[in-house]
Symmetry: C2
Subunit: 212 residues, 2 copies
DNA sequence: AACTGTGAAGCTGTTCACAGCG
DNA sequence: CGCTGTGAACAGCTTCACAGTT
């Protein structure tokens, strides 16, 4: 089991590697990866150790091999599905984001309470249509999705989390700026934009960052 | 200077406190705050120590006092302004998000390259209109904004970062899934949704989390 | 010479544990 | 009693430093 921080960085590395590869490169050095991840070369090498990837002192790491190794470490071999609840601006934005995903992870279905949105086909969701939330459990079970994404307003977030939980998802990505409580065997990751903005605002002020 | 993690938690605490207050409460215990922040009571008390807040053994912390203290620690006394670049779905979602902000932080202006969006008035932005990016430097300087939010596609993110940088912002909240490089005295916070999703997907699989 | 792989050291943030208090 | 405030112990991650490799 890979530590959370490492998983995050591996995800970053991979995206960068794809980009490098597309640009025609075949190898990278640890310090290249360090640059984009905001870490050090030593840290990158540690991460490589964690997933058992190795490189050569002269050439660095071979991109194809590395991407493969990261995939073996992070991806479900047979693919993985997520459902998105909340088809507002944020939900739509995410569909666009994730649809460029060449990974083994796809959005299987979209749900929303708004009758006007139901039946609408959603970009990025394999031409699927937007369902009423009543269908959540059925769709999750049928599709075998194990990840839920919450992009509904705070007021509805807990309720949606409960639905997802009883539908059987194992992980939740929560965008509502509120703490949702679910069974402890479900992994919850919060993206709290308000918090991030307040952090930036704080550090943008006066705080001089040390330059070496 | 408060550590990054602490700033994040303080932001969370405050939001929860506002909610408690609205519900008619006057006091909280450290363990209440621990619950919503996913930490321990000891950690909450440490955080309180960091900002010099104190409570009483019998009543806990007084909400009004605490909110005030957090404000003194995090907020710019005279308010702070941010500009948002990229008025797509994500940008619009953020405007809605942040417009409920009762804090001292507001979105002063929105920019987008799309001529169809220019001149359009944007919800949540004080009735302001969407500007062409050419105006960025001028608007930033005039409004005194010191935070920039990047919600443009990856391909344009670095360019926007450069504009923001030379316009003089001191902090950037970057939603593009790519590492932007700017002068080291600018604080950059990345919100990498793809990474978060991949994390959730990873931990949703097989990984049994310890229950106490 | 420049990079990888890694034991060991170092840090930073977290938690323990307990004195003090209302 | 149950909670706060805090020195001290702890844990996990990060970085150092250097041997090994090509």
């Amino acid at each position: 089991m890979i530590p959370e921080r490492v998983v995050g960085r591996l995800s970053q590395y991979r995206r960068f590697l794809m980009r490098l590869k597309a640009a025609g490169n075949t190898h990278v050095y640890s310090h290249n990866l360090a640059e984009i991840s905001g870490g050090t070369a030593a840290q990158v090498r540690r991460d490589m150790m964690t997933i058992g990837a190795t490189g050569s002192p002269t050439k660095g790491y071979e991109i194809d091999v590395l991407v493969d190794r990261i995939g073996q470490s992070l991806d479900a071999p047979s693919g993985q599905k997520a459902v998105l609840v909340g088809a507002g601006n944020l939900g739509k934005a995410l569909l666009h984001f994730f649809s460029e995903g060449r990974t083994k992870l796809s959005i299987a279905a979209v749900f929303d309470n708004d009758p006007a949105k139901q039946g609408q086909s959603m970009y990025g969701c394999d031409g699927c249509i937007c369902h009423h939330i009543d269908k959540l459990e059925a769709v999750v079970k049928e599709s075998g999705a194990d990840v839920g994404i919450i992009t509904v307003p705070s007021s509805a977030a807990q309720e949606v989390a409960d639905c997802l939980s009883s539908a059987g998802v194992k992980g939740i990505l929560n965008f509502a700026p509120i703490t949702i409580t679910v069974d402890s065997n479900i992994y919850v990751e919060d993206i709290d934009m308000t918090m991030s903005l307040e952090k930036v605002a704080y550090f943008a002020r006066g705080q001089v960052v040390e330059s070496v």
